[in-house]
Symmetry: C2
Subunit: 152 residues, 2 copies
């Protein structure tokens, strides 16, 4: 996937660096996915080399297109109702390594290279709470102070 | 997590083998999760030792309680609108190793030991379609004939 978007910035108009053939394929691929009533599809984000599941978020057609065009992961924020360019504020960006879809085309798997931490709490992964023997356990400590990420 | 449900079958009444303290904790934990308007929460299923993401499915309160009580993963089937005891027909069950929740408590990560294949197509993982260089690529072949799994 990285070879499809060599070096151009995240604000680039979608698809503009692709050949016509690739543009057509990607537009069709995006159209072929199954979205919910809000036009969203869930996306699992996994660190490409370690296999760590970092987060689950949501994408719409526009955020998928932008992610493919720029190579930097962009979600749809349900709480803010706008594109969520991951790391835009915190610097903790995700470089897309590969996009996969599941057998029903209603879920995505993003293999990424995570810069720093994925979670707004400062944890590497959002899934740091495990339920073990009748209690909640933190599987790993926060790696970064959230105040340092968001300046608050 | 495995120590919480030693050896009893999947039809066991939920929580009946837990101590009162564990029952209370698990009931609270299930209540504390954030469900969508249909009472569902997305669950990522990952092979506990290899890190392979196997599938994404949905759970409701009842399926989470059953999964914790039996140690065998049970989802909620949105298409059939009923509990989906994974592997009940195909034999391809998932033994729960650990349940995790994300920072917002609106997504689950199930670490499991997958018996056979997770996907109804016979692939080990449902995420076997990658988009590479403008085309869809099968990342791994099917390991099992679906007809052998479902007898059709």
């Amino acid at each position: 996937m990285a070879s499809m978007h060599p070096g151009h910035g995240r604000r680039t108009k979608v698809f503009c660096f692709f050949s016509s053939e690739k543009k057509d394929f990607l537009a069709l691929m995006i159209d072929d996915l199954i979205y919910d009533a809000n036009g969203l599809i869930p996306a699992i984000t996994q660190q490409h080399d370690t296999g760590e599941v970092l987060m689950l978020a949501w994408m719409n057609r526009e955020s998928i297109a932008e992610t493919l065009a720029t190579g930097s992961v962009c979600y749809w924020s349900r709480s803010r109702q706008k594109l969520w360019r991951k790391g835009e504020t915190s610097g903790q960006t995700q470089r897309l390594v590969e996009l996969r879809a599941d057998c029903d085309a209603d879920a995505l798997l993003l293999l990424v290279d995570q810069q720093g931490v994925a979670c707004h709490t400062g944890h590497r992964s959002c899934f740091y709470t495990a339920f073990r023997d009748g209690r909640a356990v933190e599987t790993a400590p926060a790696e970064t102070d959230p105040a340092a990420l968001y300046g608050s």
